[in-house]
C-alpha cells in the first residue's frame, strides 16, 4: 500500500511538472494545420486523388526538413465528392471544429464557388486549386490560384488561333451549365465575336446529362468549322465517346478546347484511340519545352506513390501544381515567420514564387500575371496503354509558338 501511494504521488508530481513546463512548449509543438477538401470521388475524382498525393508529397518533404517555424505540418483532408453542396459545410467544420490555421481550396471551380463569399467574410487566405475565374464576382483580395491561366483570353486566344490556321468561319459551343464552363464560355463568345466567327450552334446542358447523341447530331447538322466544348470529366468522356460513335461531320476541323478530364491518366487510358485528333488545353506536357527545374524529379517520386495507391500514374496535370501550392505557402511562411492570413497574402502578392512548375507572379485578381496555357493535340494514341503517354509525341503541343512541338492537323486527318 505504502509503495503504491508513494508511486502514485511521484507520478502525480511528475505529471504536474510536465504540465507546468509543457504549457508554453505545447504551443510550439502543436502542428500547423492546413485544411482542405479534395474531390476524391465524383466526376473530378480521377484527378483529385492524384492531386492529393502531390500535396502529401510536399507535406512529407517539408516535415523531413523540420517543418515550418519549428512545427510539423498536418494536412486535414475531406472528400467533397466534386459537389458544391458539401463544401460550405466542410470548410465551416475545418474552421470551427478542426480549427485549422490555413486553407487550401477544393480542386476545381464548381466545388470552390460557394466558398468565395465565406472566406471573404471570415477574412481567410485561400490558396486556389485549378479554379477558373471563380473570384471574378466576389473579388476576394486573399485568393491565389495555382493554375497557369488568368482571364478568358489566356485560354481561348490560343484555341481560336488554331482555328484561324484552318481558315475557320463558324463555331459551335457545347457548354456545361456550371460555374467553370459558364465562366469560360462568356469570355470565349466575346473573343469569337471579335474575331468575326459566326456562332452556328450553342447549347448549355445540365451537368447531369449522360447522353449527348442528340446534341452531337445537331452540331453535325449545323456544319461548324470549330466545335468549342467546355465540360467536366464525366461529360468530356461521354462527348468523346458519342463523337466516336456517331461522328460530328466532315466540316469540323477543330474540336475540343475546354474539356476537363482528358488529362487524367485513367480517362486517357480508357478512351485510347478515340482521343486522336482532339485538341485540348493543358498546363504541362512531358515535352522538351516544358522541362522546369524539379518537375521531372517530382514526377518520378509521384509516380511511385501513385502506382502504389492505384491512382493516375502519370500525374501530368494536377499533382505538380498541387506540390507548388505547398511550395508557395512554405516560402511565404518562412519569409514572414507568420501564419497570419493578411501577412501571408501581402507576401504572396508582392513576391515571385519559385516552384517546380516555374516562377509565379500574381496579378491583382489573384491569378497568374503571365498565363501559360498550352493547347495539345492527341496523336497516334493506341488503346489500353497508359505508359505510351510518357513518350513525347502523343500530346503534341500546337499552341502557343513558344512551347510548340508540332503542327496541328485537321480533326479527321488526325483520326486516321
Amino acid at each position: 500500500m505504502k509503495s503504491l501511494k508513494r508511486r502514485s504521488f511521484l507520478v502525480a508530481g511528475a505529471l504536474a511538472i510536465a504540465f507546468g513546463v509543457s504549457a508554453p512548449v505545447a504551443q510550439a509543438q502543436q502542428p500547423i494545420k492546413i485544411g482542405h477538401s479534395m474531390a476524391l470521388t465524383g466526376t473530378l475524382g480521377g484527378g483529385g486523388k492524384g492531386a492529393l498525393i502531390g500535396l502529401q508529397l510536399w507535406v512529407e518533404d517539408v516535415n523531413a526538413k523540420g517543418g515550418l517555424l519549428g512545427r510539423k505540418v498536418e494536412l486535414i483532408t475531406y472528400d467533397d465528392q466534386s459537389s458544391p453542396a458539401t463544401t460550405p459545410g466542410i470548410y465551416t467544420k475545418l474552421l470551427d471544429v478542426d480549427k485549422v490555421d490555413l486553407l487550401i481550396a477544393p480542386y476545381a471551380t464548381v466545388p470552390t464557388a460557394p466558398l468565395m463569399p465565406l472566406v471573404k467574410q471570415r477574412g481567410k487566405l485561400l490558396m486556389g486549386n485549378f479554379s477558373f475565374q471563380v473570384n471574378s464576382k466576389v473579388g476576394h483580395d486573399m485568393w491565389f490560384n495555382n493554375a497557369a491561366w488568368n482571364v478568358a483570353a489566356s485560354w481561348s486566344d490560343n484555341f481560336f488561333a488554331i482555328g484561324k490556321k484552318f481558315d475557320a468561319k463558324t463555331v459551335a459551343f457545347l457548354v456545361a451549365d456550371q460555374e467553370f464552363a459558364q465562366n469560360l464560355a462568356r469570355g470565349a463568345k466575346e473573343i469569337a465575336g471579335k474575331l468575326g466567327l459566326k456562332t452556328v450552334y450553342e447549347q448549355n446542358y445540365p451537368p447531369t446529362t449522360v447522353d449527348f447523341s442528340s446534341m452531337i447530331r445537331a452540331i453535325r447538322a449545323a456544319q461548324p468549322d470549330i466545335v468549342y466544348v467546355m465540360s467536366y470529366p464525366n461529360d468530356s468522356v461521354a462527348i468523346v465517346r458519342s463523337v466516336n460513335e456517331i461522328g460530328v461531320g466532315p466540316s469540323v476541323k477543330l474540336i475540343g478546347g475546354g474539356m476537363v478530364g482528358l488529362h487524367f491518366a485513367p480517362v486517357m487510358e480508357s478512351l485510347g484511340s478515340m482521343l486522336n485528333g482532339w485538341v485540348n488545353y493543358h498546363l504541362y506536357a512531358p515535352e522538351k519545352t516544358m522541362d522546369f527545374p524539379g518537375v521531372k524529379g517530382f514526377l518520378e517520386r509521384y509516380s511511385k506513390k501513385a502506382i502504389e495507391a492505384k491512382v493516375d500514374p502519370l500525374g501530368y496535370y494536377l499533382p505538380p501544381f498541387n506540390y507548388a501550392i505547398g511550395q508557395m505557402l512554405e516560402q511565404a511562411i518562412t519569409a514572414t515567420k507568420s501564419l497570419d492570413d493578411k501577412v501571408l497574402a501581402k507576401y504572396l502578392r508582392e513576391h515571385e514564387m519559385k516552384t517546380i512548375v516555374g516562377n509565379i507572379r500574381y496579378g491583382p485578381d489573384g491569378e497568374w500575371a503571365k498565363a501559360r496555357v498550352i493547347m495539345v493535340q492527341f496523336r497516334g494514341v493506341a488503346d489500353k496503354n497508359v505508359e505510351q503517354f510518357r513518350q513525347p509525341g502523343k500530346q503534341v503541343i500546337v499552341e502557343p509558338a513558344e512551347y510548340k512541338t508540332g503542327e496541328v492537323l485537321p480533326f479527321d486527318k488526325a483520326r486516321k
Binding site: 465524383g42 466526376t43 446542358y205 446529362t209 447522353d211 442528340s214 446534341m215 445537331a218 447538322a221 456517331i246
Partner: protein, 291 residues
C-alpha cells in the same frame, strides 16, 4: 435552334429506340403497381441495383446481357421476399397501412441508393462490350448499336411478358387476381402466392432492364431519381394493368423527350417525363388503355 427534317427524323428514330427502352424499364412497375396495386416507389432503385450488379459481373468479364439474364432468378427471389414482407407488414392490416406502405418503399429506395454509394462510391460506372461504341449507318444517319440492342431486347421482353400473362395459366391467374381477388379465392387459388410470384417476375424482369440501363449509358447511385418520373409516367400513361399499353406509352415518352431535347435543349428534357405525368394525371388518370 437549328431545324431540319433530317434532324427531326433522326430525333424520332432515336425517340423510338429510347421509348422501347423506357417501356422495358417500366414493365416491372406495370406489373407490380399496375396489376398488383403495390406502391412500389422503390422500383427505380431496384433498376439501378440491377445495373450495378451487372457492372459487378462485368468487372469479372461477364457480357452485360448475359449478366442481366443470370441476375433474373436472383432478383426474382428478392422480389418474392420483398412482397412477402410487404404483405405481412402492411397489406394485411388495411387501408391506413397504405400510407405507411408508401413510406416503407420510399425508405427502401433510399436504403438501396445509399447502399450503392457506400459500396461503389458516387462515381459513374460503365460497362464495356463489343457492341458498345459501334454504330450502324443507315444512309446519312448513324445509329448506335447499343440503342438498337436495347430496343430489340425491350421488344422481346414486352412481347414475352404479354404472352405470358395472356396464354399461360399462372399468367392469367395474375390478371385474375388483379381483377377480382375475392372471386379467385373462391375458386380455390391462393391470391397471396400468385401475387408473390407476380412481384417476383416483376423484379426479375427489372434485373434485365437494369443491364440495359448500364448498356445505354453510365449509371450512378442517384440515377434512380430521374427514373421515378420516367417509369411512373409510362405506367400511368399506359393505364394500370396494360402491358401493351406500356410499350405505347414508352414510345410516346421517348419520342417526346427526344423532340424536346432537339428543339428546346438539354436543360428541359428532364422535365418531360414529370410534366407528361402531371398532364395525364390531370386530364385522364386512367391512362390510355387502363382498366
Amino acid at each position: 435552334m437549328i431545324f431540319s427534317f433530317q434532324l427531326l427524323f433522326e430525333a424520332i428514330v432515336f425517340g423510338i429506340l429510347l421509348g422501347c427502352f423506357y417501356a422495358a424499364v417500366s414493365i416491372g412497375l406495370s406489373l407490380a403497381f399496375g396489376l398488383l396495386d403495390v406502391p412500389h416507389v422503390a422500383h427505380p432503385a431496384v433498376l439501378v441495383l440491377g445495373a450495378y450488379c451487372t457492372y459487378l459481373l462485368g468487372s469479372y468479364g461477364w457480357d452485360p446481357i448475359l449478366a442481366g439474364l443470370a441476375l433474373m432468378p436472383l432478383f426474382f427471389l428478392f422480389g418474392v421476399a420483398m412482397y412477402r414482407f410487404y404483405y405481412e407488414t402492411f397489406e394485411k392490416r388495411g387501408t391506413d397501412a397504405g400510407v405507411r406502405g408508401l413510406a416503407f418503399f420510399f425508405g427502401v429506395a433510399f436504403i438501396i441508393e445509399v447502399g450503392l454509394i457506400l459500396a461503389f462510391g458516387v462515381d459513374q460506372r460503365l460497362v464495356e462490350a463489343d457492341y458498345i461504341g459501334k454504330s450502324f449507318t443507315f444512309g446519312e444517319m448513324r445509329v448506335p448499336l447499343r440503342m438498337l440492342l436495347a430496343f430489340g431486347i425491350a421488344l422481346a421482353l414486352a412481347a414475352a411478358l404479354t404472352l405470358y400473362l395472356s396464354k399461360t395459366f399462372t399468367g392469367r391467374a395474375i390478371k385474375a387476381v388483379a381483377q377480382d381477388e375475392g372471386a379467385l379465392r373462391l375458386m380455390g387459388a391462393d391470391p397471396v402466392r400468385i401475387k408473390q410470384w407476380a412481384f417476383g417476375i416483376a423484379t426479375g424482369v427489372t434485373a434485365l432492364a437494369g443491364a440495359l440501363l448500364i448498356i445505354i449509358g453510365p449509371v450512378e447511385p442517384m440515377t434512380d431519381r430521374i427514373y421515378i418520373g420516367r417509369t411512373f409516367c409510362v405506367v400511368v400513361l399506359a393505364g394500370l394493368g396494360s402491358m401493351t399499353g406500356t410499350l405505347a406509352a414508352g414510345l410516346i415518352l421517348g419520342i417526346s423527350e427526344s423532340i424536346v431535347l432537339m428543339h428546346f435543349g438539354a436543360s428541359w428534357a428532364p422535365a418531360v417525363a414529370f410534366g407528361l405525368l402531371l398532364v395525364v394525371l390531370g386530364i385522364r388518370p386512367q391512362g390510355l388503355f387502363g382498366r
